[in-house]
Amino acid sequence: MISSLLVLSAGAPSVYAKEAEPMANDVQVEARLVHIAEELRCLVCQNESLSSSHADLAEDLRAQVREQIVSGKSDQEIKDYLVERYGDFVLYRPVVKPMTWLLWFGPFAGLLIALLGLGISIKRRNEKIQEKSAVLAAHSTHSTHSDNDPDSDQQTMQSQDFREPGLGEPTHLEPDSKSELDPQPSLKQPISTAHSKA
């Protein structure tokens, strides 16, 4: 029982060690390798990064990168090494240079142009609306005097309706309200008198 456990525990790590053999010589080197390779494109399966690709070439290139890490090269030097051979295409993050300006700044330029266009069109539209409303206003003040415009009549009616309950404009309401509201002061009066009586 114990011996079989020992065999198992001895066997398991060796299996893992074998699988990871090309990699885990040095944890730091591997961490840097992954860090660099994630930013690099595998040339065979172009939508995979160099760190995740299983292509033979990716494995070879990883071996090269690993070797250069061990020999003390900087990340930039290693990337330059690959760019020298395979071009900017290996970089997932394209270099900023005149040829890639459109790529880097194009979207922002497009957004700026679109915003400018939007601003201009809004300004123009506002001006047009103002012009139109000015024309309309001139038109409507003209037509209220002639009684045969049903629209303007309705408008004035409506505006009166709205004003009535809210503001209770005294000039309009007074003649009517007096007769309607007459009972109230008379009601209030007796209560107060009743209070005073009690």
Binding site: L43, Q46, D56, E84, R85, Y86, G87
Partner: protein, 193 residues
């Protein structure tokens, strides 16, 4: 009238960009090595004579063709190269690229000498069967020289000028059409310069 033209114009620009994108083969990555000095190397040859280095061809226009016996497209390309080698007096150097594949030696038992031996055997048999267009062939067992040349698939073919500068790279099989329309004119103009 004007307003109606603006989106149409934008659309036309978009179509042009997309159309240009569609015509490109995403697998053809432009090589940064064009017009640069061909990387130097010194490799064992297939027939076992002295190692070859590109400097030996200084003053000559020559071609470097990456091949392998396991490469399927190479079979398609090979007759074209064989015919071309008979027709034109330009040296073609074969670069036998990683002849021994991981699956050939899964246990990694073979040392470099036996790998070289096996690769030479397989390569010779293959060339005997399909014809040999190469002036000589070099053995890039670990693919290092391939990486230096930016090889990312087999076959690839380079034209190198008298100064040792790479002037052209063909990605994928050489066809009679690319040969007659592009490569031979380039070789001729390089030879005359």
């Amino acid at each position: 009238m004007k307003k109606f033209l603006i989106p149409l114009l934008l659309f036309a620009v978009l179509v042009l960009f997309l159309g240009a994108g569609l015509r490109r083969d995403p697998h053809e990555i432009p090589s940064p090595l064009i017009n640069k000095v061909a990387p130097n190397f010194s490799l064992q040859t297939l027939n076992g004579s002295t190692p070859f280095s590109p400097q030996q061809f200084k003053g000559k226009v020559w071609m470097l063709n990456v091949w392998a016996t396991w490469c399927v497209s190479c079979r398609q390309e090979h007759p074209v190269l064989v015919a071309f080698s008979k027709q034109i007096g330009v040296p073609i150097v074969g670069l036998s690229y990683k002849e021994i594949q991981p699956q050939d030696d899964p246990e990694k038992k073979l040392d470099l000498a036996s790998q070289l031996k096996l690769a030479r055997e397989r390569g010779s048999v293959w060339l005997e069967k399909h014809g040999n267009p190469y002036t000589l062939s070099v053995m890039d067992l670990d693919g290092r020289v391939g990486i230096d040349y930016g090889v990312y698939g087999v076959p690839e073919t380079y034209i190198i000028d008298k100064e040792g500068i790479i002037r052209f790279k063909q990605i994928g099989p050489v066809t009679p059409q690319t040969l007659s329309e592009t490569m031979i004119p380039i070789i001729r103009s390089l030879e005359n310069s």
